[in-house]
Amino acid sequence: MNEVAAFDDQTGWQTDWQPIATTPGDDGALYLELDGWEGPLDLLLDLARRQKVDLRTISILDLVDQYLGYIERARALRLELAADYLVMAAWLAYLKSLLLLPRDPEIQPGPEELALRLQLRLQRLGAMREAAARMMARDRLGRDVFARGAPEGISIDRKVQWSASLFDLIQAYGAIKARSAPVVHMVRERPVITLEAALERLSRLLGVARDWIDLRLLMPRTEPGSDPRLTRSALASSFAAALELAKQGRAELAQEETFGPLRLRGVA
């Protein structure tokens, strides 16, 4: 592991990282043992870098040997190795055998393709790792450069601009009138003789005539074709007025038979 530590220091930019901060809990053992690597590809990349050549010209055979050697040492130290490191080791051993043995055209993909693909993967991971380091080393807002500490803030106050047209207004008023006015109009215009009017009329007529008079003769004369409801109303209010006059002792009422003519006479 010393080798590993030394290599990490060499890379420098790891200071920005927390190597095991987010290790998945379910395979925590792996990360405790292989401190600083995130999987076999990561370990391979570190080993490849130790060849100190461009990743494009790296010797895959050397890399395989280094990886297998590392796994051997880890086993000798009885370090617990996660399965995917062992799977990678088995695969690399297979790749090595393909590369060393005489070529068998039956085996597809061939060893060169496998090696090249591994190389491409390492290049990509290496490229992203370098890009990440360069990105993290930039002048970062909040670390190297700072925004204004206490901005006043700008705000937009929403102000509602109410709109309505004169027509809306007048129409609304018309609608209100339409709702409320009928009650008023009906009372005023209905063809009725009020109790007050009937009382006034009966009092006046009784003061003139002293004999018994049929109530119907005392009613206001109605024009031919006039509203029959006005006649009914006149009869009703005259009857009520007659009762009122009798109650006040100003008139007498008489009826010979049920539903017969109702007569009244003034009391002096």
């Binding site: 700072f146 709109s163 309505a164 609304a172």
Partner: protein, 189 residues
């Protein structure tokens, strides 16, 4: 650490810009390793004078602030047109035709309760104002229209509002006749 006057000026400028609270000259100096900053502060005040941002000292502490004459730009009102609700326009019509009028009177004429917010909206719109209290039991608040109301609706005076006869002539009271016919039934011809 700081090479020349110019660098000091820049450092003071950046320090004040990034500071979360106003800083005294001593605090700035301490922050910058003890360099005297009075001259730099003076130079910065002069540099920012008349710009959109200025450097000011309040109670011995320095901070940048936006120029006071631009305050109106930083709190901006955006107008959102919105149509009055049916209830609001009815209340407004009643106030306009009957003013001054109390809420109870508005409700009596409309025949429905008027939500508290309705009159608020009309007052917020600037079309209705409180016109005092009526000298009657409960001393209810009474409302009237404003000059802004007349202006918005293009009226010289309230007398320009069409009268009942005009409303009827315009067919706006048609529903009344319908309602009357319905109530009087066979009596109507």
């Amino acid at each position: 650490m700081i090479a020349g006057d110019d660098d000091l000026l820049r450092a003071v400028e950046a320090t004040l810009f990034a500071a979360e609270t106003p800083l005294s000259a001593e605090e700035i100096a301490r922050h910058l390793g003890g360099a005297p900053v009075a001259a730099a502060l003076e130079a910065l005040v002069a540099h920012y004078a008349g710009r959109g941002v200025e450097l000011v000292s309040r109670g011995g502490r320095w901070h940048f602030q936006t120029a006071p004459d631009l305050a109106h730009l930083l709190r901006r009102e955006r107008e959102e047109p919105r149509r009055l609700s049916r209830a609001a326009i009815e209340a407004l019509a009643i106030i306009a035709y009957h003013e001054p009028v109390s809420r109870a009177e508005i409700e009596a004429i409309r025949g429905v309760q008027t939500a508290r917010g309705t009159l608020d909206v009309l007052m917020e719109a600037g079309w209705v104002r409180v016109a005092g209290r009526r000298e009657s039991p409960g001393r209810p608040t009474i409302y009237a229209t404003t000059p802004a109301f007349l202006a918005h609706f293009g009226l010289e005076t309230r007398r320009d509002l069409p009268g009942i006869d005009e409303l009827r002539a315009a067919g706006l009271l048609d529903p009344i006749d319908d309602a009357y016919a319905a109530l009087t039934g066979e009596g109507a011809d």
